[in-house]
Symmetry: C2
Subunit: 235 residues, 2 copies
């Protein structure tokens, strides 16, 4: 019997419409799958309805995998592939396995010899890098910076040093309600000429995209409180 495959399925960002960011090829695969590994059933159902699946939600099997999942039984998430069923790993927002825990499932799939097929969709990190005007030939994504202020400042200094040493764009994120704390640390710590790009709500109608030197940011307070944002630094 043909072994099932693992599809990596992007979801929406911000308030964008499905057909503005999800290719028809990705939608066609979503519509024929019956098994989904999801972080949260409620948001997954909402996305699948927007993606115009023709079957009812009750016909689908959802397996929940998120940061609370015990990792002892990763194989069970992929058990359906032994019976020939394809399974989709669906992100909460953007592409799976980037800035989310999904890569553990993919690693297990490789060990089990299951074919892994990544599908195209929106990634806030990639879109922010494109839009920044910064070096896209050498860049680093560090995830969340430390919440502790002293450690955060130490990390920012380290990132700024790496920009110079490696000519490397630095990309990072923050929990939305802490965005302005991070912004304040950045303008306090970085050199006047270091450029900061902030991208919030990308692909949405209210997208905010701006690249300016730190010296200029000191005179502007961006409207990014509680909005999912990407921060990028470059010289």
């Amino acid at each position: 019997m043909h072994k099932g495959r693992l599809y990596l399925i992007p979801s929406l960002l911000a308030d964008s419409k499905v057909d503005s960011v999800i290719p028809e090829g990705t939608l066609a695969i979503i519509r024929r799958l019956n098994y989904f590994i999801v972080e949260e059933i409620r948001t997954a159902r909402r996305f699948l309805i927007k993606a115009s699946i023709s079957k009812t939600i009750d016909e689908l099997t959802f397996l929940i995998f998120n940061e609370h999942t015990k990792e002892l039984n990763l194989r069970e998430f992929l058990a359906c592939t032994a019976e020939g069923h394809d399974v989709g790993l669906l992100s909460e927002a953007g592409v799976p396995c980037v800035a989310d825990p999904g890569s553990r499932i993919v690693a297990e799939a490789h060990e089990m010899g299951i074919q892994v097929i990544p599908l195209t969709g929106p990634s806030s990190i990639l879109l922010a890098l494109m839009a920044s005007g910064f070096n896209g030939q050498n860049f680093c994504f560090s995830g969340y910076l430390p919440a502790d202020k002293a450690l955060r400042i130490k990390k920012i200094k380290e990132l700024e040093r790496t920009i110079q040493e490696k000519d490397q764009t630095q990309v990072f994120i923050e929990t939305p309600y802490r965005n302005l704390h991070l912004f304040d640390s950045l303008i306090a710590v970085c050199h006047e000429n270091t450029r900061l790009c902030i991208v919030a709500g990308v692909t949405g109608d209210e997208a905010y995209i701006a690249t300016k030197p730190i010296g200029t940011w000191k005179k502007i307070r961006p409207d990014i409180n509680r909005k999912p944002a990407i921060f990028l630094l470059y010289h």
Copy 2:
């Protein structure tokens, strides 16, 4: 008068079909633009025809920007925006401004106060990261490794050290005809347990995606000669 905007337009990877990787929203914008900044007119025309633009190619204005372009007059590429025309920055393959020189144009747009709008499409680097099963919460793209063998080996050792120190996925590329040279250096230098993921021809019918420990790769010669490939290392 309304000032024109700069759209960042992804193109195809490998031999994939337009609607399998380019969202309808991206296509709709491509179809209404009259000005395009491109690396090479021939490939740009070929892509635009595939994207089913309804106007004839002669109605479009192409501005050529690539690694040979003198950077003195970047503003001229964006001059049409002053007359209210939107302009599209089109990649040769995948998304613009990542692993290509387009980011210089975007940086200029920010300085000129032109709105920058990144559009969704396929990125071989991002798709490879998703498919690798490696850490997507901390990763680094280093572009091309040195062509000189001794320098390449030194760089690989440095990347492998960083994986351990920062729990960071390392992503890099090679000129396709040198892929197997890079592969040979990787299996010669890296620890048996370090995992290597190779992704070639992603989104195409002949996509090659495999993650294995270096010890296992020593027994396999991947069929990646002269194919655009992404290499990823992680512990």
